[in-house]
Symmetry: D3
Subunit: 160 residues, 6 copies
């Protein structure tokens, strides 16, 4: 699949009911479980875009708003927003639906970088993201910053 | 929430990557795991429609087409298609996305009946489904047959 | 293993304690979890009869009686009741034992069709069920109807 | 439930298919997973005998024979063999059924001591085991030794 | 527990064997599973420092080095490095031990912010971290930057 | 790796938060779950010592003290204490940290025997444990008794 192939991104939706195995002893979902769901949903968006298996290269900072409770529903929406030669930046939004009403609250957003790989684990080229709307352009720029921050972290870590 | 309240149904989407815990020793997903995902996604569609907790009352027959493999993606779409006083019929469609390409194959369909309940477990009235499109009317009629078949099973079982 | 080999069926028993990972936020077991247990126990009955790996081809309708609670015990009993060239119909009965007393309540029954497969996934012939008791003959007839209903569903679905 | 109530023990059977979540990276079931299944099945036998919740007080030594593989079936049989005022000794036998044939191999045996408890966690009296067969008497004597060994361990540990 | 109480931090160690339920279909651990382990180990370090339950407020960016394989061992080390009135910054280091040799490779580092809470979910004061070594001072400064970056993200998000 | 290679043992530490999936319906951890954690932690200590995969050969008797509750933390410490040609005895200590305070209570101790294996499942020689401290010598002697008891059980079982 050549890198100059242009392709639109498909949004992947994932819904989860917060059940006892996802929660701690005080009835709220673990932050780590939320991060796992964001990674899993993001990986599916990247796999569907690349048509290949992917591995997670990095996760940008995530801030948790008010806690999600046992019995709530979660909706995750993931979409590729930026592409490089073998990597993709995926935005994942998480919404909370308190079960007693159907109102959907924005809960948190994460940006993950995935690398497409061949079956023997080597990086593989991905299509280039086709930008259609204004939002596509706005998020491409955010994706650029995500990549830039990751690069700065590599330099900072080498200095440690 | 009075029964004469009319309400449109929201489709709930759920995506899953088929990973080792979902598969048997020959690398295909368990039929039972598929049924569990259909029940869980259907329950969320019913909960969002009723604005209440729900319990599964019955699952209509399900036929599995060709096996879903480790590494495939699954997409489930669930929607309330029929309502009675305290119960809802939910249709759940399951699609398979073989990971090497982005083609979506219809895999199987299930119809589940859920009952809305109060926090102490008693049945609770649900809104009446608002029918908008021709499809809504077609699936309402299917929902009627699902309920009719469930009634016939109760009579048949009482005869056993 | 030739198809004209006659073989009696062995009943497979499975017991489960209903613990938090199996239940929802209101303390009752998920319908989907029950279906998964029925499929798993049924698959073991089919594997022991066929002496081969199996895949689930279909599950007939299941009706859930009163909810099973956290702390209850479940007993499942599965047995092959009908055989064709490569497929088996398995009956699975689920009983509930409320933990405070030893009384066993019938909870629900399911009929599943399994197909025996070779290690590369192709259908494989199974022995023919040997009918010994009156009950064996009664359930063979029920198995015939299960297969007949599955055939009617295939025709109905092709019409959709 | 008075201690002088005599009661026969019911054997609890549990069947499990060895699937990827139960196995390590070399395709054999974890010893710890086997111990967990033995404890769980034993607990159900004790709960059914006592008609109460139970907690595990001790597990006698267990020796594992040849490894159980992915795709094998396991059958566990648990039965109360000895009772004291609030405690029960349960014998749990584990058999392995290699999936390609229906032969059942004895794999290992464990003896567990369970204590019946009230809902607030205090020990509660259990019925006295009714001994009917020669085997019942033989295993009662083994149960005595299990309790004796546990008592010796307490003395030995206090000396450490 | 007054905020002016000075307390040294205890390092919490967690070891995990990478088994099939943690890995994807290509035999490497999920990034999301790694994040979950980091959050869980970090939460235990925060709980032991605060003597209270905690919730995750944010996770700073994490970069994954070369993939961790099925059969590898993971070692996580978590320690509180900074405290404010009700929140703690925890550093979590993850090491990989390829199972064929005992060499320990640094794999990735994460910084999480946890908030101590009362049983009804309100923030609760935590002791102040006692700084003893040069490293304690170095990491306190890093903790300051972690908090500063979280504050900047809140401003940035409000602008979106 | 020749048997006459002398090697010191490394202690492996594992920490777990007791969450709903680990507990029964009365909020205490399952004895079987504790045994599973002890086996898993012990296996990692044996793998790190042998530099090879291992299988569990036996578990010596374990006595559970007062129950561990939902929300408690567990700390396990495992170390090889005795070696033979292909087998190792591992001591595993389990401590409980009630979450409201940082006090660590000794909860139970187990001794497990592991055998190192090649990738095709055959036993493989392990290094000989280097004894450095008085405690090393004391626990080597205990390891001898563990092995002796296992040998006596084999004779006893053959007599049954």
């Amino acid at each position: 699949m050549p890198n100059d192939q242009l392709k639109e991104a498909i949004e992947v939706t994932n819904s989860e009911l917060v059940i006892p195995p996802h929660t701690n002893h005080i009835g709220t979902i673990f932050g780590g479980r939320v991060l796992e769901l964001m990674d899993m949903t993001g990986a599916m968006a990247a796999m569907r875009f690349a048509g290949e298996d992917v591995v997670t290269a990095s996760m940008d900072a995530v801030d948790f708003k008010k806690p999600i409770q046992l019995g709530d529903m979660i909706e995750l929406k993931a979409k590729v927003i930026h592409t490089a030669r073998t990597s993709m930046v995926v935005k994942v939004d998480l919404f909370r639906l308190a079960h007693a009403d159907s109102q959907k609250d924005f809960s948190c957003r994460g940006y993950l970088v995935f690398v497409a790989i061949t079956c023997d684990g080597n990086p593989k080229e991905v299509p280039t993201l086709k930008l259609v709307t204004d939002d596509d352009n706005k998020f491409w720029a955010i994706g650029e910053r995500i990549k830039q921050r990751a690069k700065e972290r590599r330099i900072r870590d080498a200095d440690d």
